[in-house]
Subunit: 200 residues, 2 copies
């Protein structure tokens, strides 16, 4: 196949997203990323610099997504566990995305769906907590509820609860972010703006 640096970089990055999402930083293996990307291991160092740099690139690319999917929640968890809340990657952009959630809460307050006297950011945080919880802690759902977070009964009950809840809805926002196909390869079509090129 014709060589193409951007394409290779993208393949590595998307393989890395899967790998870090699945295993976290300590558990992730450079060799697995290379194998999954169908690229030589050396190229990871060529394009990114090292394991840490790949991880940062993964965070920078993924953490600025709005909707809470399973893979993203896992990255959030590893982010919290391994990096804490200092030096948050992509802080400015993420804060911008969060503003949408706060906005949604504020709007709901306007419509009388939510108590007007509360800080909308607080309501947005609470809503996020409820959105994320079943994805983040399926075992606790199972312990408390008796059935699985992925089971139909729970999902339906939870959704209904969230709808009636005195809290703001998740803003449904078009997702312009890159999507992965079944092999975990990012489609080349609409690459997001290439921030921080760590490589050579």
């Amino acid at each position: 196949m014709a060589r193409n640096a951007d394409r290779t970089r993208a393949k590595i990055l998307s393989a890395a997203v899967s790998e870090f999402s699945a295993h976290g930083y300590a558990g992730a293996r450079i060799d697995r990323i290379a194998a999954r990307a169908g690229a030589n291991k050396r190229l990871i160092y060529h394009h990114f610099g090292g394991k840490q740099a790949v991880f940062e690139a993964v965070l920078a690319e993924q953490l600025t997504t709005a909707s809470a999917n399973d893979e993203l929640v896992r990255l959030w968890m590893y982010e919290a566990l391994e990096r804490g809340d200092d030096d948050i990657v992509g802080f400015a952009e993420r804060r911008r995305l969060a503003a949408d959630r706060v906005e949604a809460a504020s709007t709901a307050q306007g419509k009388g769906e939510l108590p007007a006297d509360l800080d909308p950011a607080l309501l947005a945080t609470a809503r996020l907590a409820l959105d994320v919880f079943p994805l983040a802690f399926p075992q606790l759902v199972r312990v408390v509820m008796g059935n699985r977070a992925t089971s139909k009964p729970f999902r339906e009950a939870w959704n209904e609860f969230l709808n009636d809840w005195h809290g703001p809805r998740t803003p449904d926002r078009a997702k312009p972010r890159v999507r992965l196909d079944r092999d975990g390869i990012a489609r080349a079509a609409t690459r997001p703006t290439q921030t921080r090129r760590t490589g050579p």
Copy 2:
């Protein structure tokens, strides 16, 4: 010092709690556990069998605690990430503890503090989600709220929100579990019942 198998086992276990809570399974280091416990590495294999077995012992000991402290939440997170929701360690006992939370929700419903038409287990789950979120995802709190989850303004606002919230309180339950002193060494006084002695 006089040799004492139980004591050594306990020191190893408590060192392991810190280690796994800090680094997860993949990131945890047997050598660090040994150093922290002030015990020879070989003794870990002597008393437990292997890394996996130590991890299981840690989960079995810690995950059945009621109150959500920082260390426990980290273990919950690693549990979710590395083990999912199949084959939950200590399921029966944890379910018993969870029943207290559900009970609290039910009581609150009786007092009219909560909508009576909802499943109390669902309300308990929601409450747990809100309790855990700032500990689990401090970076998201920071992104949405602007200030840190550990900051006084946030903690006060969040507590107030939880108190007014249309949801059940956390059951405050006497904690009979072993407590750790500053060195992370479990006090010998009231060891919990010794479940599953994996060692020789």
